[in-house]
Structures are given as structure tokens and as C-alpha cells.
């Protein structure tokens, strides 16, 4: 009873304020939502960039083409040697026959090529070994290891499928988006603090008579201050809910359009937000609540100081 009565009253005063200054409240919520959206754009760009890099990294590998008629024993030796290097994640071998099958399959609608192939008595293709490293930085080291005299004489050609330039570009774009996103977020954070401050000043102005009376009849400062801070926190939570809804909407409508940029692979936007839902909501909720609490506290404080 001792605690419940004042708490209930503080809440009902807070609700009354909101209904009285609905338009200011709306403007406040709008700016808070924009601030939250800009943060989430930042988060989204990070997620998109890191999944793009992962996809590109997956594509990096070394293909080693052996001369035709290389004996299987040499192939096995090459394979087991490379597979024994700890930096190697996976080694796959396509035999000459498999390579031929794959080749004819790929060119089955091109009779001239198939005819030319039939002219040859022997299989012109050699075996192919594909090596995948655990880390992209290990490829130069692996390339050196291919010079092993036990099998290097049988190697006709090597290609290192390097995507490091593409990776660099993705990271550069992501960096500049992050940079502008950060500035945008900072600007909106400052706007948020300012608009909350002003919304609370307006709320104080519209109820200056009540507040004057409260202070003269000996209401504790908490009774003046808490309903106003509660209003600000209410705005923050409402904005958080609206922003969350908008982000969900934008992702579910927007992500399908991104798939084509990702070679048909998952851009990882939705999965990132779903996986990190709780930490994202907690971090953003805390940040926005701290901002609005501090600025509304300051707004009321300036009034109470008189």
C-alpha cells in the first residue's frame, strides 16, 4: 500500500501527459525510430559484408592439372602429401576419366567439340586436384609445396583462383557504409536526446500550474520528475517496437532482391538478425532508454532547480 499507491499514481500521471501532448509524442517517436533504423542499417551492412566475404572465401581454391596418363600412384602420392599439410582443409581428385565425363557432359550440345574429341584415340585430359586451405592467407605456402619433386614433374598447369581483390572491394564498400552509418547514427542519437529534452520541456510547460502546485504543497521531487521520465521511457519502448517491426518488414521484403548479388546464396541478413535478436534488442533498448532518461532527467532538473 505504501509503495503501490504512489507508483500507480506516477503511472497514471505519466499516461495523462502522453495523451495531452500526443503530437509532440509522435514527433519524438519518429526521431527515435529513425535513430534506431540507422543503427540497424549499420548492423545489416556488417552482416551482409561478412557473409559476402565468407562466400567469396569459400570460392578460393587451387586447381592442379596433371599431365594425361599420369599414373594413379603419383596422383595418390600427391594427394596424400598435400592432405597431410595441416593448413589444408580438403583435397579432392578428379581422375582423367571423370574429367572426360564431366567435359562431354558440359559440351553435350556442341557437336563440333564432341567430334573433335572422338577424333582423338586417347583421353586428352589429365586428372585434376583441387586444394582448399583452411585460411586464405595459406595459399602461397601451399603453392610452394606443390613444387615437391615427387610429383611436380607430372603437373601440367596450376590455377590459383584468387578472390582477394573482390574481398578487398567488399570490405572497402562495407567500411565506407559503416563510416557514414556511424555518423548518421551519432546525428540521430543527438537529435533523439534533443527532441526528448524538448518534448519534456513542452510537457512541463503544459502542466506548469500543476507542477507549481505540487511543489508548493510539498510533493516530493520524484512525483514531479518520475511521470515525465516514465513518458520518455515509454516513447523509447514504443520506438523500439516500431523500429523492430520496420526492420523485420524491410528484411523480409528486401532480402530476396539481394540473393542475385550473392550468386544465389543466402545473403545472411535475416539469419543474422534472428540469431542475434536478443542481444540486438537489449543493446539498442538499453542505449535508447539511457539516452531518453538522461535527457528527460536533465529537462526536469533544469526546471526543479529554480
Amino acid at each position: 500500500m505504501f509503495i503501490i499507491t504512489p507508483v500507480g499514481r506516477v503511472i497514471s500521471f505519466a499516461v495523462k501527459n502522453i495523451t495531452r501532448n500526443a503530437w509532440i509524442g509522435l514527433a519524438t517517436v519518429l526521431v527515435l525510430v529513425l535513430a534506431l533504423l540507422s543503427v540497424n542499417v549499420l548492423v545489416g551492412v556488417n552482416a551482409l559484408a561478412s557473409s559476402a566475404v565468407t562466400i567469396l572465401e569459400k570460392k578460393i581454391d587451387v586447381s592442379v592439372y596433371f599431365k594425361p596418363e599420369t599414373p594413379n600412384a603419383i596422383l595418390d602420392q600427391a594427394r596424400s602429401y598435400m592432405a597431410s599439410i595441416p593448413q589444408v582443409e580438403r583435397v579432392t581428385i578428379m581422375t582423367a576419366e571423370e574429367a572426360l565425363t564431366a567435359f562431354t557432359e558440359r559440351h553435350k550440345n556442341e557437336p563440333t567439340i564432341l567430334d573433335a574429341l572422338n577424333e582423338l584415340e586417347e583421353n586428352p585430359l589429365g586428372a585434376t586436384m583441387v586444394i582448399k586451405a583452411r585460411k586464405t592467407t595459406d595459399y602461397p605456402f601451399l603453392m610452394e609445396n606443390l613444387n615437391n619433386p615427387q610429383f611436380s614433374f607430372a603437373i601440367e598447369n596450376k590455377t590459383y583462383d584468387d578472390h582477394s581483390i573482390a574481398i578487398q572491394q567488399v570490405e572497402q564498400i562495407a567500411d565506407s557504409v559503416r563510416y557514414f552509418g556511424l555518423i548518421l547514427t551519432l546525428i540521430f542519437a543527438i537529435f533523439s536526446a534533443l527532441i526528448v529534452y524538448n518534448a519534456i520541456r513542452v510537457a512541463i510547460y503544459t502542466q506548469r500550474e500543476e507542477i507549481g502546485i505540487m511543489r508548493l504543497v510539498g510533493a516530493s521531487n520524484a512525483f514531479v520528475r518520475l511521470p515525465l521520465i516514465l513518458d520518455a521511457i515509454f516513447f523509447a519502448i514504443l520506438s523500439l517496437a516500431i523500429a523492430a517491426g520496420l526492420v523485420a518488414l524491410i528484411i523480409s521484403f528486401g532480402e530476396p532482391y539481394l540473393v542475385s548479388f550473392y550468386d544465389g546464396e543466402d545473403p545472411g541478413l535475416k539469419s543474422y538478425f534472428v540469431d542475434n535478436l536478443l542481444p540486438l534488442i537489449i543493446a539498442q533498448g538499453m542505449a535508447i532508454i539511457i539516452i531518453v532518461s538522461l535527457s528527460s532527467w536533465a529537462a526536469v532538473g533544469r526546471y526543479l532547480k529554480k
Binding site: E210, I213, R215, L216, V217, G218, A219, S220, N221, F223
Partner: protein, 228 residues
Amino acid sequence: MIDLQNISKIYGSDVHGLRDINLSIEPGEFVCIVGTSGAGKTTLAKLLIAEERPTRGKISIGGWDITRIKKRDIPYLRRQIGVVFQDFKLLKQKTVWENVAFALEVSGETNRRIRETVPHVLKVVGLEQKAHRFPHQISGGEQQRVVIARALVHRPKILLADEPTGNLDTINTADVIQVLKKINDFGSTVVLVTHNREVVNELRSRVITLADGRIISDKKHGKYLIQS
């Protein structure tokens, strides 16, 4: 009850509100404070409720030294002094009952206490019949009595009224003064700031006259001195 020692109040750097006031008011007294405009009457009242701080001197209320009172203690001081100020009005959108109850609500009193206290103070000022009217539906004197009722909700030992009859006609003025006398009869100390010659002369109580921030007269059963 109220004790002022060598109190001076200077606004800004050179506006003297009060100059070296020494004053002692006993419990249960009815004191009128009179003086020309700008004499420092409102300044004195504001010092008593810690709305302003003295520049020099010492104030204590009921033995409590409030000269350098902490901001968070001010609410407790204000619950011990009922205040009726001229510019301290009723809330138009609230009924008489709600206006009085508001003072209790914002002090964190329980609903039960509110239901007990509001009828009681409305009875003291003779307005229990008009509890559910809005301010614009009652006379100016009745409005001022509601303000007094609101000042009484914490059962203050001191009632401080700064020109409560300023805008009232003779009949309404008499009603308000009647209520103040009744509160004084119940044992509260009443400090009444007024310009009204008839009121002062009929009350035959202690009269303190201020001029230019100084006490120029303090009479046990005084009369209104200055001609306005």
C-alpha cells in the same frame, strides 16, 4: 515557532528585499503583515517556505534551521506550512474535491487517507456542499477557501497567506478571514499578508509593518498604520 535573526535578502547585486529583520512568532499567534507595495512582504513569505534563500541571517521553523535547507528536504518543510498565495490558483479542469485531493495525491498519500482528509478540510472552510463543483461554478471567496482547504491537507502548524483577499469584495473577504480565524482557533499559527485596512483593524491581532525591507512597527494589538 518562526524565528528570524538578522535576515537580509538582496536580489541580484543591489535590490534589497529585506534588511536585517529580527522577528519571532509564537505558536498559535495570528500575525498580520502589512506594508506598502515593494516593502518586502512577499519576500518574507517566500523565505519562510524556502522558495528563496536569505542572503544573510538565520531562519528556523519549529526549531528546524532552514537557512541552508537541502533541496530534497524542502517538500517536508512545505508539508508543515500551508500556503495560500495570490498567484497560486485552483486547477480549472478539476472539481473542488479533486483540487484538494491533488495535494494529497502528489504527496503519496493513500486513497484511504484522501477519502478521510478531503471532507474534513472542506468542512473546515464550509464548502462540503460544493465539493463537486468546478472552480468557475463558485464565487471568488469560495475559490480562495478551497485554496485554504488545500493548504490544510497536511494539518500544517503554520498557515501562510499572502493577500488571500486581494481580489475579493467585502462579503467574500469577511468569509475568508472568518475561515482563517477558525483555523487559528484550532491552534494553528496564521501569518496573513494583507493590504486591507478594515481586515487588519477588525482582527485586533498582532500587526507587523514593513517599509523598504525593514520592520518599522510591531504591535501586539495593532492597527493599520500606513495610508494607501
